[in-house]
């Protein structure tokens, strides 16, 4: 069964789109990542113009994240206070990021920069998470769980503006989440993603939040980022295809609910291990694309469409 998408101006198979939405939604619920870094290439692969894919995916992620946040919130796993502080940092970061993006575009080679950014960040984050989660799994299996010190003090804890984040069981300087939100904002504006796959590891490792709270809080923050992206694209490029977004969200919101349940059954280190594998696979795929000889060295673009 086929359906014509009015903005993408292409007819697509209904079940292919629904299937893709469902699978990516599942990952969203499980890991707290928006899934844009998976969904966008999938849509481009089935023939959706890249600009339409990016903008419509942002709209779909908003829906999936709302679904995911509500599921996590009922389980008490969203730290709204932390989410808001991250968001404030993120807003400033994305303004700076948009400015850097414009600068890169003027120099040229913005596509290559995006690809390299992805490979570097996905590689570092995926690799570190993978090693850490494997270690944690091995430790818990050998039963040799050494009791960690309750408080480890770094220079970071000497920073001013301390705030108590009850849900995250943290008492840290507000500058930390502000800074992290800002950095992720910069990167997500440059790379065109919601930033979940950077935000989630940053919250776990840099802030030291419990994995269960991280996922819901990350999704809470993503809602605002993607809603803003949807609005900006609607106004500037008219590339948001609501028909496409609606099809994607109708299956991804269900996927997010199932994913949340599935994720609850897994241990923190198992979740982190799976996410790190996913991130590494995408990283390797991108790295290979940069190095192997492309099928056609020529590519076509319509001016003004991206």
């Amino acid at each position: 069964m086929s359906i014509y998408l009015p903005i993408a101006e292409i007819s697509v198979n209904l079940f292919v789109i629904l299937g893709m939405g469902g699978i990516v939604g599942l990952l969203t619920g499980m890991f707290g990542v928006g899934g844009g870094f998976l969904m966008t290439p999938l849509l481009i692969f089935v023939g959706i113009p890249p600009a339409v894919a990016v903008a419509s995916v942002a709209n779909q992620i908003t829906a999936t994240s709302v679904s995911g946040v509500l599921a996590h919130w009922r389980r008490g796993n969203v730290d709204f206070k932390m989410g808001l502080v991250l968001l404030i940092g993120g807003i400033f970061g994305s303004i700076a990021g948009t400015w850097i993006f414009t600068l890169l575009k003027a120099i040229g080679q913005v596509d290559l920069m995006i690809s390299l950014c992805y490979v570097v960040f996905l590689g570092i984050i995926g690799g570190m998470m993978f090693v850490e989660s494997i270690n944690a799994m091995l430790k818990s299996r050998s039963g040799n769980v050494r009791r960690k010190k309750l408080h480890q003090h770094y220079w970071i804890h000497g920073l001013p503006f301390k705030m108590r984040f009850r849900k995250s069981k943290l008492y840290i300087s507000a500058l930390m989440p502000l800074g992290i939100g800002g950095l992720v904002g910069i990167l997500s504006a440059i790379m065109g993603v919601g930033g979940g796959f950077i935000m989630v590891p940053a919250m776990i490792y840099l802030l030291g939040m419990p994995t269960t709270v991280v996922i819901g809080t990350s999704l809470f923050q993503i809602i605002f980022v993607t809603a803003n992206v949807t609005l900006l694209h609607s106004m500037a490029t008219q590339t948001v295809d609501v028909m496409l977004a609606l099809l994607l969200m109708s299956s991804s919101v269900v996927g997010a609910q199932i994913g949340t349940r599935f994720g609850m059954k897994l241990k923190g280190e198992q979740l982190r291990g799976l996410l790190s594998l996913l991130v590494l696979i995408v990283c390797i795929k991108l790295a290979i694309d940069l190095v192997i000889t492309p099928a056609d060295v020529y590519s076509l673009t319509i001016p003004g469409a991206d």
């Binding site: 292409i10 709302v66 008219q238 609501v242 060295v297 020529y298 590519s299």
Partner: protein, 264 residues
Amino acid sequence: MASGMTAFKGYGKLAFLGSLLSLLGFSGTLPARADSTLVTDISSHLISVTSDFTGTELLLFGTIQSSNADDFNNGDLIITVRGPRKDVIVRKKDRVAGIWMNTKSVEFDQVPSFYAIVSNRPVEEIASATSLHRLRIGPERLDYRSTKAAHDTAPFKQAVIRQRTAENLYSDQEAAIQFLGTTLFRTNIALPANVPVGDYVAEFYLFRDGDLISAQSSPLFIKKSGLGRTIYDFAHNYAILYGIAANIVALFAGWIASVIYRKD
């Protein structure tokens, strides 16, 4: 006909005059050695793209009217369908320090977004390369060019044809025109699901012994209709409202899903 005379001398104006003539209801006869005339039409001049659009077939048909009844050589036919024109940037990747990156690019102006050609035998056998080039018949002889080409554009032009062909937007079918009896002919051109909307033109050329003896053209419009049209217009005319509506839809969809799954 005086206008026909002019058209025959200046091939470049042929398409324009042809469409003008057919719009006015003339059968665009061109005076030639043999008194053969093309009478042609297409199955539909207005194609609506609705939400269940999966592509369609366009039937192009006609008859060759010859005043000389003993004339069994009806000649050769070439039919082209050309879609709306858009600028295209073609980029070429090269390996730099082991990484493939875009190095060269050529911008072509006014490239037809759709181009289909059908003939009763290979076009190179029908007419000389010179006349095919003058008439702009065939994907590699289309008249778009680059305004600021710093290097050889031929491989870039080939890339346009290759990629558009892969997307089923360019097609080249030799020996796809069927003759029914000696004078009636028909052929089909597939308009795929990703066919661009806009103004199209179908052109019919009749050749005999390598000379163009008659030509006809018909306009064709492909446009969105129904819900798709409404959504498209809304997105372009009320961009801010559209963006807000898209977000409300997303919030609602997420909330609905969580309500449904609340029970367990």
